[in-house]
Amino acid sequence: MLGTRATEDAVGSHEAPPVRARGLVKRYDEVLAVDHVDLNVGAGDVYGFLGPNGAGKTTTLRMALGLITPTEGAVELFGRDPMRQGARALQGVAGFVEAPRFYPYLSARKNLELLAALDGDGAVRRIEQVLDVVELSPRAKHRVGGYSHGMRQRLGIAAALLRSPSLLILDEPATGLDPAGMRDMRQLIRRLAGDGITVLLSSHQLPEVQELCDRVAIVDSGRVVYEGALADLRRQGGAGYQMRTTDDAKALELARAQAGIEHAGGGAHGIHFQAQEHDVGELTLALAGASIGILALTPELATLEDLFFRLTEGNGVPQREVEIA
């Protein structure tokens, strides 16, 4: 019989977050690839997962998808553990780790037919739709063996979308794409997020993560060195300000004397300093009291790239307390 069969009730909790990892460890003999990683990806997040090569990102994603067994700890997807519940835990979850792989001797459509058959639940009816989304319909009859890297990445996205996922796990989806392909990939991820899909995005493209993600985890040498909102990270990284006034020399003198204002200095375009928001408010009042007019006050947040290198090459921001979802 070549049909489908109904499974028993899914056991996912209605309140469970899309991804929740606790104390995740993966050890290969003497090498500690993942060191007590905690992750919390909330519903609707576009969650960036960052780290240098060999930091343990892909290993963590493999554990999340049930491909490798954690040495310690566990991952839950919508409250279900892939190691204990197998394919049932992947209900509503799709994606790929490292490069998406397909059968090179089959056409793209045949590959998707195969995967749709392994998905069941009407996935086969979505094949044409997902081929259209990734613009591979004209090449769908061609063998995947002849596809470029970028086409395979797009086919990987199509294969993931076949499952109509609620959680999409993407490992370096823009790797190997040309600038137009990277732009298209960003647009697609944004659209998917806009449609309510939670996205866990592992990427080396820091501007891409900064543009797409609202929450991030940064891993280094297998450990999470930051997890939380990207905006918070940038604030913790030290907010800088640029200011022009009617009397920059006097303003600089006042700023240096003001509590909470750090690294104040002058320049050709006014003065610059670092401070928390409420200290900036105090400074503006002090300037007003000294009859100094403010012509421009521009916050200058640290870029994700600055923060990434600070965190992964030392001199980092202290690890934030992990929020329990």
Binding site: L2, T7, L77, F96, Y103, D119, G120, D121, V134
Partner: protein, 291 residues
Amino acid sequence: MSSAAISPPAPARRARVRRPSTATVYRWELRKLISQKRTYLGLALVVILPLFFVVFQNVHQRHDRGGDNIFAAQITQSGLATPVLMLLFLSVFMLPLAASLVAGDIVAAEDGNGTLKTILTRSVNRGQVFAAKTMAAMTYAAVAVFSSAAVATVAGIASWGFHSVRSFSGTVVSAPEALLLVFASNAIYLIPLLAVAAFGVLLSTATRNSAAAVVGTVGLVILLFIVAQIPGLEGIRPYLLTEQFENWHGLLRTPTDWTPIAHSAWVCALYLVPALFAGYLIFLRRDVAGG
């Protein structure tokens, strides 16, 4: 990327979903096999050899082939002697080789190409994938055996006619009954061949290397043949897998000798069941990090 509409996300927490059956996974394993050129290499080996044999016999027009084997002696008297003789020749090495080519490759190739992770992140469990791959490897072994037998039978009958033959006991067996016995002999021979395939699947799963698994499986067959020849080890010969390759001879005796067939069935089970169980456990617990 296109702005084509995307299906809304599936509810990840809905109560019931329909997941594919193992039969669906098995059907796709067969389709993958059919789509690969290398699948046909083993089949070509076991199909071409009977054809070559019949052509060679016709060219040389040798009507009196004595020798030790009763079917060799009557090769030109009945086309039905050809499939029996070919099974005798091919059962020793060529059919085990053909079975090993696919069984040794069926898990390891996917691991090496990275497609194992692709299918294991869909809605099928590892047990289903392992079962489907094992069944596909065994189906291939069966197709190899019966393709070879069919070609040998058709070529033999086309060359030397559909006549009665004499069995190993010297009894004359009518042509229709002999045809049935040819089919049954191949079916019985399949029992040890399935054990070879099971060992191939085990090595394919354990080594993650197609070449190592194929060579290892063929190596096991050769090793057991060597062990069978070592003086002083006669006591274990009846329990060697390679000794079971002759289990079907009992069918071609009058009356039918079921003893070697029954013995072969349980001896082969001793090889097949542990190999599959070990392969299953390895497949369930292994880390899929290839590709």
